[in-house]
Symmetry: C2
DNA sequence: TAAAACTATAAAGCTACTATAAGGTCAATA
DNA sequence: TATTGACCTTATAGTAGCTTTATAGTTTTA
């Protein structure tokens, strides 16, 4: 299997596969005589694992960490769970921050309507005045 | 006022000020004979405006857009409000996406406990199996 | 006077790719 | 046979919004 087929199979771009290989997230595959990369089906599983982790919002560094755990399968999986817990709390704090931001934006937006001139725009005035600590 | 004082006043790094200037978000200030930038207090208002926009999650491009509206104060502020509406809906979709992600992460985390070996880790198994479409 | 603190510019680094350039390989077609 | 098209290769640059580093000149302080 060449890189294009693998890419189609997993649903990524060929450059992404080369990029992961370059970043050390995927092992260098065998090459044909002409230099083309050749992949086994099993290789696709590793790639799919990375993609699922990315969809879950894990960074490449975190994925690398998970892979290092997989290399040593008889240690307790405490660290894996801890990584996920950290990630969950990170996602939660993002949500909280965005919700606060939404409130602020909505209240800012409510301070204006479309019938004004820029000079009197409540939105711009709101940003300029800097009363942004009203939570 | 030199760049360090301005930076302290507004609460940014000096490099950030130079960066905004370079990006055209701030006008080039006067220079002393030695080449040092000199700022007025009023200049700080423009900088503070940018920072507040950034805190609201606006991109530098959006800030640039807002500035262009400010340059023409007698047009209706429809565009300003539209920009903010777009941004609000962007923030809302981010929140929705993150909430879905959180659910997925929590359910993944619930599939394991700390008493297992990596080999049997429910989290890693969950990612590897790829049953990630269960919403 | 010498060190510490400030300023300047330019360039690289960060994340996770994506896009572009310039070229080599292969199978099918005109 | 020549060439077109689809595929592959590497290397490099671009994205956002800074931050960091390098190198050097200037001012302030001890």
């Amino acid at each position: 299997m060449r890189i294009g087929q693998l890419a189609q199979l997993v649903g990524v771009e060929t450059q992404t596969i080369r990029f992961y290989e370059q970043q050390g997230l995927l092992p260098p595959p065998d090459r044909q005589d002409n230099g083309y990369r050749v992949y086994t089906e099993k290789y696709g599983e590793g790639l799919a694992f990375i993609r699922r982790c990315r969809i879950l919002g894990l960074s490449l560094a975190e994925i690398h960490e998970l892979q290092s755990y997989q290399d040593d399968p008889h240690q307790p999986c405490t660290a894996v769970n801890a990584l996920l817990d950290d990630h969950i709390s990170h996602v939660r704090s993002q949500i909280t921050a965005l919700q606060a931001l939404e409130k602020q934006l909505v209240s800012l937006r409510a301070s204006c309507n479309d019938d004004r001139e820029v000079e009197a725009c409540g939105v711009l005035a709101g940003i300029s005045e800097g009363n942004m600590h009203q939570q």
